[in-house]
């Protein structure tokens, strides 16, 4: 019997507002603990929340980019529970009237396009951060993050494989980045993922027992955890073991999911309408105003790259799947002009270097200006193409300017005819057999001779010139 997974994803993304959702404290990441706090976000007695308009707009913008219906009438609710990172002992969130509902994301899979439904996306506030000291038996609380606006995006359990889940996440991340509502940095916690998975026989309509997976700190971990959990659940079903409805986390060292120590029985959140925040009415005019502000989305950019820049669909797809990468690329094209040349660099050397060094597109050590200047040097003959690739590698490692690298490493292409001729003559002298082969009609022998010149000059000779001059020299000899 074949099984399939039924996977849903819950994503929390921090909205890129300057201030927190209910007070004027900064949302800047980092900062000494408890230095971005005020009476309101600390929940001091007597304080009241005041709603940040940008947070609402960003949430609506995200909803629009995710093809959601925006609720005309929406409100905030209190979600009540006790935890040290929650100063008011309730989180102001949205319960039954979320801002955005019933959206979708389209995934490109090898079986074609698949629509993944989104149940809802709503606005809420973040909690603080806890740091645990195992030895001392204490935990430390930092409230800087308390009150940062979050959008919570809940998908329908439409995904059937860990791969689809990963693709969904990548697509969702790029949409959020493109609309600039969130910077989606999982390592800084501005993007968090929880998932739930159950299994059932393929073709069945019924749902199995759902297990929740939490504390997944990268898309890779999400994939591996789902992969493992799928297998674990299938094995259990096959062995007639009951699957517990529980929350599990990923143990990186052991490569397995383990149950989280249960905090307590299922939370009774006692949701009720937040009395301190009045309702939100979203007019059609406001929605259109926000819609106009939405920057170009990935699929729109991809189309433009194909139509206007003549990029092949695959390349366009790869480049636009990552906002920072496509921004880099577009800036290069802006400076240089020829998109194909730049896309060659990006699809070739840049992606390779990124993969090898595990550096993200947001953290590139080189700038578009530097890459364009390098290409200009190639165009001018200052550096050969193959040398150019070496310069690129160095540039990527050090961040130094191409001119500096070329100078320091003496990688300048030798384009001086006299210098080249000197080497050419030397090579001809030392390779009389090849020379006579060429003169005798074996045109391919020139390749070998050119290669020898390149070897002599340690690759610095301008290949076109070498070809040109070699041919001239050989022809001269042939005449004689």
């Amino acid at each position: 019997m074949e099984f399939e997974a039924v996977i849903g994803l819950e994503v929390h993304a921090e909205l890129r507002t300057k201030t927190k959702v209910f007070c004027g404290c900064t949302t800047e990441f980092g900062g000494q603990p408890n230095t971005h706090c005020c009476p309101v976000c600390l929940g001091l007695p007597g304080t009241l929340p005041v709603l940040n308009k940008s947070a609402v707009e960003y949430a609506i913008m995200a909803g629009l980019a995710l093809n959601c219906n925006i609720s005309k009438f929406s409100k905030m609710d209190r979600k009540n529970y006790f935890y040290p990172d929650l100063p008011k002992a309730y989180q102001i969130s949205q319960y039954d009237l979320p801002l955005c509902k019933e959206g979708y994301i389209e995934l490109e899979t090898d079986k074609g396009t698949k629509k993944i439904g989104i149940i809802r996306a709503h606005l809420e506030e973040d909690a603080g951060k806890l740091i645990h000291d195992e030895n001392a038996g204490t935990s430390f609380v930092d409230y800087n993050r308390t009150g940062v606006p979050l959008i919570e995006i809940v998908s329908y359990p439409d995904m059937r494989t860990p791969e689809e889940a990963r693709t969904y996440l990548t697509k969702l991340k790029s949409i959020l980045e493109y609309t600039e509502v969130s910077d989606c940095k999982m390592q800084e916690g501005s993007l968090r993922v929880d998932t739930n998975i159950s299994v059932r026989p393929k073709g069945s309509e019924e749902f199995g027992t759902k297990v929740e997976l939490k504390n997944l700190n990268s898309f890779r971990v999400v994939y591996k955890a789902l992969e493992y959990e799928f297998k674990r659940q299938v094995d259990a079903v096959k062995n007639n073991e009951k699957i517990m409805q529980e929350t599990r986390r990923w143990d990186e060292d052991k490569g397995i999911t383990v149950p989280m120590r249960s905090k307590e029985a299922a939370h009774d959140y006692r949701y009720f309408p937040e009395p301190d925040i009045v309702p939100i009415e979203v007019s059609d005019e406001w929605i259109e105003e926000i819609r106009k502000k939405i920057p170009e989305l990935p699929y729109q950019k991809k189309d433009r790259f194909i139509k206007e820049m003549g990029l092949p669909s695959y390349d366009a797809g790869v480049i636009t799947s990552d906002k920072a990468l496509s921004d880099f690329f577009e800036r290069c094209v802006e400076l240089y002009g020829n998109p194909k040349t730049m896309s060659n660099w990006v699809m070739g050397e840049l992606l390779r270097a990124m993969k090898e060094t595990d550096i993200d597109s947001e953290d590139l050590p080189i700038s578009p200006e530097q890459l364009v200047r390098l290409q200009n040097m190639v165009d001018n003959g200052k550096v050969s193409i193959s040398m150019g690739k070496k310069v690129f590698d160095s540039m990527f490692k050090t961040g130094d300017d191409p001119e500096v690298i070329v100078k320091e490493k003496g990688l300048s292409q030798i384009s001086d005819a006299d210098a080249l001729n000197e080497v050419i003559c030397k090579v001809i002298e030392n390779n009389s057999k090849s020379v006579s082969d060429y003169i005798g009609g074996k045109k391919k022998a020139m390749g070998f001779l050119v290669g020898q010149v390149m070897k002599e000059t340690k690759g610095k000779a301008n290949p076109q010139m070498v070809n040109e001059l070699m041919r001239q020299e050989l022809d001269k000899m042939q005449k004689n």
Partner: protein, 482 residues
């Protein structure tokens, strides 16, 4: 006549003329408070040093030509309103040592108007109670009879004004906590329209019902305080836009043509007959001066108390969840783990009535009960509000007794439900968010009777007009000096 016997208006005139200085006035009042309060117990904390400093500053500013409306006038503040740098305890062990790092907006505005803050007054713990007996720290007595309660939860503020300790004091009203003690102590107490005064800095009890208001000895004093503290606040987004300023002279306009409704449900069996008589007598006098009086009905009145207890407890259980001792407040010293730390700190810090309301509120919000209780209460709230809306199409104000009885004795209402019934005439007004004032209109059995005037949203001016008229008729009440 002693300085503490003068009303605010008179004191302002004397200060303006230079007949007295604010320092003189403040010193005189605080000396009197320290003497008198040994018996009354209205104050939890008297800030002699701070007050004299502020008074001195006021005198200097006056010399420089400042004309701030309350310059140099001493006032008291209920201890659930945050005062920066000064303990704000809500009369609870939970906040026994809590010092807010900020001023409530009303305190800021009082300071901006030049007022001198003399101290913080006693109350029922976290504003939950109708007698001030639930204070964790001390007992406040009724200035008219030391064996009787001053009412609650703003008992300290009411007593301080009625006992001539200060000319005015701020309180808070969630279900009657200003009006009922005003009635018991023979002071004037105003609860404004919900949203008229900023709640920022008022330690929350029930967010959709709480309002800060003021005690005074007459309508003009109330108007002066209102002018200083009311109006939209950017820190409180449930505060109504704009600001209205009351001309204290305007309120002397009289009651000719005023349409007064008497809701028959507020004059029922549960209300003491002497109290009723007192109200009828005052209302008759208003009629003789041109008001039109008619009996009418607010049919959903009998459901208001139940709706109130559900809504207020539910909101309170959530508002008081933040008290865990981690960032401020009482923190237990012995506990087993984190959850136990929470439970011990809260159980040690909260008194019985507070725990009772938290339990009730948690219960009505818990899964399985939300629809039957909380949701239902919010729907009944609509019905009660509609009752009033309809009434105000025909009448300008409604009048009734403020409380079913005069002040009762200490320990008399030990059954919580009995205590809750003390609020039955004031609670519907909070549910509907309307403005309401209690003005002393006579005595019954030697104790003050309060007349409640209820108005349309934001028509506090009409309430003040009625108040002025009634005080003209009945004269000002003053407890016997003991």
């Amino acid at each position: 006549m002693e300085l503490y016997e003068y009303g605010m208006n008179e004191l302002i005139a004397m200060l303006k003329k230079g007949e007295i200085s604010s320092v003189m006035l403040t010193k005189s009042l605080i000396d009197h408070i320290e003497e008198k309060d040994k018996d009354i117990g209205a104050f939890l904390y008297i800030d002699r040093e701070g007050a004299l400093k502020a008074a001195d500053k006021a005198d200097k500013e006056r010399k420089e030509g400042s004309d701030k409306p309350l310059l140099g006038i001493p006032v008291a503040i209920k201890d659930n309103i945050c005062t920066k740098g000064t303990k704000t305890t809500c009369a609870s062990r939970m906040l026994e040592n809590f010092i807010p790092p900020y001023d409530a907006t009303v305190v800021e505005r009082l300071k901006e108007a030049g007022a001198v803050i003399v101290g913080k007054t006693n109350m029922d713990e976290f504003a939950m109670g109708s007698s001030t007996e639930n204070s964790a720290f001390k007992k406040t007595v009724n200035p008219w009879d030391y064996g009787k309660v001053p009412g609650g939860s703003s008992g300290g503020s009411a007593a301080s004004v009625a006992a001539y300790e200060v000319p005015a004091a701020l309180g808070s009203d969630t279900g009657g906590s200003i009006r009922q003690p005003a009635s018991f102590c023979g002071a004037v107490g105003l609860k404004p329209t919900y949203g008229r005064i900023s709640r920022y800095g008022l330690v929350a009890f029930a967010s959709s019902l709480d309002q800060i208001g003021t005690f005074g000895r007459n309508a003009q004093d109330i108007a002066l305080i209102m002018n200083a503290i009311s109006g939209h606040d950017d820190h409180d987004f449930t505060s109504a836009p704009g600001k209205e300023v009351y001309d204290p002279d305007d309120i002397k306009g009289g009651v000719r043509g005023l349409k007064i409704g008497l809701p028959k449900e507020y004059f029922g069996e549960g209300v003491n007959s002497e109290v009723k008589d007192s109200i009828y007598a005052a209302v008759k006098q208003l009629e003789e001066r041109g008001a039109e009086v008619e009996e009418m009905s607010l049919p959903y009145s009998e459901y208001a108390l139940a709706a109130y207890y559900i809504i207020s407890s539910a909101e309170a259980s959530s508002n008081l969840a933040r008290y865990d001792g981690i960032r401020y407040g009482h923190r237990a010293e012995k506990y087993e783990d984190l959850i136990d730390l929470y439970a011990c700190s809260r159980s040690e810090g909260f008194g019985k009535e507070v725990k009772r309301r938290i339990m009730l509120g948690t219960f009505v919000l818990s899964s399985g009960y939300y629809d039957a209780y909380y949701k239902k209460a919010l729907e009944v709230r609509t019905l009660i509000k509609n009752d009033f809306d309809k009434a105000f199409e025909k009448y300008d104000v409604l009048m009734s007794p403020t409380a079913p009885t005069t002040a009762f004795g200490f320990g008399e209402k030990s059954d919580p439900l009995e205590m809750y019934l003390a609020d039955i005439l004031t609670v519907p007004i909070n549910i509907a968010g309307l403005p309401s004032i209690s003005v002393p209109c006579g005595l019954a059995g030697g104790l003050p009777v309060g007349l409640q005037i209820i108005g349309r949203p934001f028509e506090e001016k009409t309430l003040l007009k009625g108040t002025y008229m009634i005080q003209e008729i009945t004269g000002k009440l003053r407890p016997e000096v003991r």
